[in-house]
């Protein structure tokens, strides 16, 4: 013990000796909380616009000066011209409407059917146990890989795009709604049954309202998935749609049209995302959790 103690005491003594030094250093070590000053909103927006204008100008200048190969990258002025033609002489509205409809139908069908399927697992543990492995299997399959098959079955019209979009959204909704069902407190069910409730009453008054936040939380994810499904469906075989336009333009080296279709598609995506976000927050206020 004493042998072990000695070095410790020595070390302590060694530490103790230069004590005045750190104390002298202390006043200089004053630190303040790092503060970040927020820019005013106009400055933020100005910066954002500045970056956009800057990038577009550099692109245009680069293309004209020959630094950027306009054949592969196109250039902003050409894209603007193509945009004008696309909306005046082209199929812009047909394509937008086609893609929009496939996305929305796929989103609605997939989300509704998936949520109902997930909720249905509450009714029977046996049924849930039997079906669950299949749902997990379905989840692990890359659904987009099935798209060629879906096109074969449903044809090259709207139906097949809706089907791909549905396939992508359905499983996510199912698993999420089922997660809600599994999180249900057994005591709450007990309370309902002690009040003499039927299974249907428990389902309507407890299970559905309890799982709604889960179902709502998946809406935003699903709108993105549905759009992806619709576009991929159009890539494989279609006569309309923004995805088909992108593919067609790429194959004919009309790069400006590719950019136009991508821009329109992004706008559509942003609009739908915003609409679903609004729907989500409205529903959330309605259900409270």
């Amino acid at each position: 013990m004493s042998v072990q103690d000695t070095p410790t005491v020595g070390a302590m003594a060694g530490l103790n000796r230069p004590q005045p030094k750190p104390e002298a250093a202390r006043p200089t070590a004053v630190r303040r909380l790092p503060v970040q000053k927020d820019w005013p909103t106009w400055a933020l927006i100005a910066a954002q616009i500045g970056i956009l204008v800057g990038v577009l100008s550099l692109w245009e200048i680069g293309a004209r000066a020959g630094w950027i190969d306009a054949f592969f990258w196109s250039q902003p002025s050409a894209i603007a011209d193509t945009m004008k033609i696309f909306f005046t002489a082209g199929d812009a509205w047909t394509d937008i409407s086609f893609t929009f409809r496939s996305t929305i139908f796929g989103f609605l069908i997939g989300t509704t059917a998936g949520s109902l399927l997930g909720l249905s697992f509450w009714w029977s543990r046996n049924y849930a146990a039997v079906v669950q492995p299949y749902v997990i299997c379905l989840e692990s399959i890359p659904k987009l890989a099935l798209a060629p098959l879906i096109i074969l079955v449903f044809g090259i019209g709207l139906m097949s795009k809706v089907a791909v979009a549905t396939a992508l959204t359905l499983v996510v909704s199912t698993l999420t709604a089922y997660a809600g069902v599994k999180a249900l407190d057994a005591d709450s069910e007990k309370l309902f049954y002690s009040l003499g409730a039927t299974r249907l009453q428990v389902f309507r008054k407890l299970v559905i309202p309890f799982c709604l936040p889960w179902i709502i939380s998946v809406l935003r994810v699903n709108i993105g998935l549905a759009l992806t499904g619709a576009i991929v469906g159009e890539f494989i075989a279609s006569q309309h749609g923004l995805g088909r336009t992108i593919l067609y333009a790429g194959q004919t080296y009309d790069i400006a049209l590719v950019w136009v279709a991508v821009l329109v598609l992004s706008t559509l995506a942003v609009v739908m995302y915003a609409a679903v976000s609004w729907l989500e927050s409205t529903l959330r206020k309605g259900v409270r959790q």
Binding site: S188, L191, Y193, S194, L195, G196, A197, Q201, K205, Q289
Partner: protein, 266 residues
């Protein structure tokens, strides 16, 4: 008090659970007979089967043996015959306080408007005025417990089972809630079966206290509480009260002196 059939009768009810290691006797045959309008408590260590008895009476669990009689009629395994308040308040967060309290009536198909009309005056009279249209997350623990109790009461059964309703409340709120419950009980003349860990609470509230033992869960003693009603806080210090308390603590294998500091605090 009439000498007709007891309101609630638990006759030789036993419960055995099958476990991987063999049968587990949760409840030896237990017999309880509770006349109309009585307040009866069950106390006992954890795992003595208090909640099992409650689940059996509420029809949520089929007993391995024995019967549950309400008004002399067999009610074994039937739900919706008694009001049952579980330990947690289980208020539904998406319903207002008012709509939470009418849940039982709603399930029994009472029209919503009529149910609300019945519930509102009670909410006002029993300390939830101004909270009717709030959601449960805006309520304190005591208020939530009041709402849960009113929900049980508005279910309108003669028998009410209360499973440690005040277990999670702080000492001061708990005392207030006990007074509140006494008021409610004398107003509505329900038959109450009350589970608690708190010996003093059991004696203070009850006409009779059943002390339970474990392995298997069973009633080891039934102690009547002949203290006059309405009771006041001071009666918890009366010699009669202390004698009963000492007996309960002895039965629970507790050292009576160990709870003295608790008395002083209260």
């Amino acid at each position: 008090m009439s000498f007709s059939a007891p309101k609630l009768c638990v006759a030789e009810v036993s419960m055995t659970f099958k476990t991987p290691t063999g049968a587990f006797h949760a409840l030896a045959p237990v017999t309880l007979s509770i006349p109309q309008g009585r307040f009866v408590s069950l106390i006992g260590p954890s795992g003595c089967g208090k909640s099992t008895i409650f689940n059996i009476i509420a029809g949520l669990l089929e007993p391995s043996g024995g019967r549950v009689l309400i008004d002399g009629v067999d009610a074994t395994g039937t739900i919706g015959r008694v009001g049952y308040m579980l330990q947690k308040d289980l208020l539904l967060p998406w319903r207002t306080v008012l709509d939470n309290t009418i849940l039982g009536m709603e399930i029994q198909h009472v029209p919503l408007r009529a149910a609300r009309e019945r519930a509102l005056p009670l909410l006002h009279r029993y300390g939830l005025a101004g909270f009717e249209y709030l959601y449960p997350n805006a309520l304190s623990g005591g208020m939530r417990q009041r709402a849960a109790l009113l929900r049980t009461l508005l279910f309108d059964t003669d028998v009410i089972l209360l499973d440690e309703p005040f277990g999670a409340l702080d000492a001061q709120t708990k005392l207030k809630m006990q007074e509140w419950l006494m008021q409610l009980w004398s107003d509505f003349s329900k038959t109450v079966l009350f589970v608690t860990h708190d010996v003093e609470e059991a004696i203070y509230l009850s006409d009779e206290v059943h002390v339970m033992g474990t392995r298997p869960g069973r009633i080891i003693a039934s102690i009547p509480v002949p203290l006059a009603r309405p009771r006041v806080r001071g009666s918890t210090l009366s010699p009669d009260f202390l004698v009963i308390k000492e007996r309960c603590l002895e039965l629970l294998h507790l050292d009576p002196t160990a709870s003295e500091p608790m008395n002083a605090a209260a």
